[in-house]
Amino acid sequence: MTVPPSMPPAISVGEVALSCAALVKRYGDVVAVDGIHLEVRMGECFGLLGPNGAGKTTTVEIFEGLTTPDGGRVEVLGQGWGEGNDRVLRERLAVQLQETQFADRLTVVETIAMFRSLYKRGWEPDEVIRLVELEEKRDARVGKLSGGQKQRLAIACALVAAPQVLFLDEPTTGLDPQAKLQLWDLIEKFRSRGGTILLTTHYMEEASRLCDRVAIMDHGKVIALDTPSALVESLGADEIVEFSLEGFVANDRLSRLPGVRGVRSRDGNYLLTVSSVAEALPALLAEVEIHQARLVGLTTHTATLEDVFVTLTGRKLRDA
């Protein structure tokens, strides 16, 4: 990440907020985290992108001090867990977990005030309620909130601690697009105030919108790590052509077509990374014709992180 020139020198961006090395966590025979190295800087929004079961949640929970790793070293704000300073460390962190359900019979403000009381320093509950735009629901029972409102309440319970590092585990999973946008706004507000965020997601648009840097995880390993734009650029192509065939065309034939940078295929589904659709498409159609194959479907789009994942693993994020 490049430090914007407008930032004053006092800013601590660049200092390491979170780091881990050779991190390993096993559950029985399953290796959930398989020797990963990560470094998250102060003031950064860092994303762990990957399919379900990739080890994102385990990694985050190790950073949160909720899970003890089987191997490797973890540092949070320059300290390790279990070194006698855990409570001091927890004062500076806040966590949102997947699937936490708050007590239905407490109101929004009561829930936030309870979390506030657990920290020495923090924000006034009503300030946070304003921040997450739940003013109208201030005195409503938690059980009566919608999914998006509950998720904003979860963020509010984390923000009320005025944390330096915020951990978000799939914060928008299961939310409708409107609620998702609201939550993204909220995360950006925290980020713009200098907060550090470690976020997991399996939505590539979420990662590319919110994150300064993204680590793509699969099967407990980090398979790529860079800024979202650098990851997309690494495909060497601006656009993607996806199609399905009844029939067969060899990958190396396709890769020699003009404008094509890369080819991946699986069960008759093809993904071409191309520098120019205008150049590649006529040549592709001609090639299909030559092989007497039949085109079943064809789409083109601008390259995204999803395509990076597909290119690296051969699978899509959602079905992986």
């Binding site: 966590v95 009381s117 657990l118």
Partner: protein, 428 residues
């Protein structure tokens, strides 16, 4: 505040520009108060000074417990209404019914009319208020005895003699009505001597007949009926119900709340905060204090108003006993819930712990009725200790010092189970 947007020129920003109003209306409260803080990253995202004084975490957690409880109507029913209903039902079942009568049958001797032995016996028995007699054929009488409708069957053995005989002169003056002429072999009592009510009936009937025929008492005895408050079944029952209720609400109240918070991943989230573990567990114990007072008051005042069961001991000491008892069950409840993952699991464990105490600890009848070799176990159960201490205070008016062993038993259960719960507690 255009610098807020400009501060983060990320490559991905052009794809997904935030809504324009996000910056305008965003309540960046710290920034609004403190211009310096609007520089991103210059300070941690903290308001510099907040007027807000957070409540003490222990108090806030306890308040949350109390709010959750009082907003759950079912819980309120089980804790406050159910024990009162139980007291009503049992109080009615065991209410005082006045002096009991004995139920007897007289075997008909085949001849009808006032001249027959059975007929005259019936006439005489009808004048007695403590004996209720029916005239039945021998078969019917046997059946009534077998099914428990009567406790005793009277069979006049020598009805011929009775029919022709005269009442013994001079000796029946005190009898309410002329008795059939019965000598020592004149009547057979048929009954099952293992049935207490049959034996009572035999004694009552025999005594009445013997006196009616002129037996004189050699010594003057005097009866004194004991029915004063403090010695009735309901007096025994009310302290037991208080104890039972403290056990039920303490264990269910804590066990359920803890396991529910665990299944909802709330415990895990709390474990990620700087909250002290002891604060969390203590908040459950403390919230019990509030309800403890209300529960005890509900049952005791009901017993007082409806049945005249009064507290003979010191109210303050009663409070201490209830408090220690309640804490011991709160500790047990926490222990039972310390590692349980599901509501079903905790329900099973609760029943496993509480059912033996329901039966053994002397709530509905004295625990001393169980065999001698069970007593060492029964006497160290927390509910036995609580019930004994409550009865010593409420019924007997004894000072707390008399119940010290019971109080120590309860305190030991509470402290040990709380410490074990703290040690074994599973947060995720």
């Amino acid at each position: 505040m255009p610098d807020v947007i400009g501060a983060k020129p990320r490559p991905s920003l052009e794809q997904t520009l935030p809504p324009a109003d996000a910056v305008e209306t965003g309540p960046l409260t710290g920034a609004a108060r403190d211009p310096e803080a609007s520089v991103p990253g210059a300070t941690p995202p903290l308001p510099e000074a907040s007027r807000y004084r957070p409540v003490n975490p222990l108090l806030e957690l306890t308040l949350a417990r109390i709010r959750e409880f009082v907003r759950e109507p079912e819980a309120v029913f089980w804790v406050f209404v159910f024990p009162v209903l139980l007291a009503v039902a049992l109080g009615i079942a065991f209410r005082e019914t006045g002096p009991a009568t004995v139920q007897v049958a007289v075997e008909a001797d085949g001849r009808q009319g006032p001249g027959s032995g059975s007929g005259r016996l019936m006439d005489w028995l009808e004048g007695r208020s403590d004996i209720e007699a029916v005239l039945l054929s021998p078969e019917e009488a046997a059946r009534a005895l077998r099914t428990g409708r009567v406790a005793l069957v009277l069979r006049p053995a020598r009805s011929e003699a009775a029919a022709s005989g005269n009442p013994a002169a001079g000796e029946t003056v005190s009898a309410p009505s002329p008795l059939p002429d019965l000598d020592s072999e004149g009547l057979v009592y048929r009954y099952d001597p293992t049935r207490p009510d049959s034996r009572v009936a035999r004694l009552v009937v025999d005594d009445a007949l013997q006196r009616g025929m002129g037996r004189e008492d050699v010594a003057q005895m005097r009866d004194e009926a004991v029915a004063q408050p403090g010695a009735r079944y309901i007096d025994f029952l009310i302290p037991g119900l208080v104890g039972l209720n403290l056990m039920g609400s303490g264990m269910w109240g804590l066990g359920f709340a803890v396991v529910q918070a665990r299944t909802r991943k709330l415990l895990k989230l709390l474990a990620a905060t700087p909250m002290r573990r002891t604060h969390f567990l203590l908040s459950f114990m403390l919230s019990r204090l509030i309800f403890l007072a209300l529960e005890v008051v509900a049952v005791i005042s009901f017993g007082w108003v409806a049945f005249g069961v009064s507290v003979h001991g010191s109210i303050l000491e009663l409070g201490v006993i209830s408090l220690v008892g309640s804490m011991s069950f709160a500790g047990l409840g926490l222990l039972v819930a310390a590692r349980t993952r599901t509501i079903e699991g905790v329900s099973g464990l609760m029943n496993l712990v509480m059912l033996p105490m329901w039966l053994l600890s002397g709530t509905f009848f004295a625990a001393t009725r169980f065999p001698e070799f069970w007593q060492p176990v029964i006497q160290v159960l927390p509910l036995t200790a609580l019930n004994d201490a409550l009865r010593a205070n409420i019924n007997e008016g004894l000072p707390l010092a008399a119940s010290l062993p019971d109080v120590l038993v309860m305190a030991a259960w509470g402290i040990v189970s709380f410490l074990l719960a703290l040690r074994w507690f599973r947060w995720q």
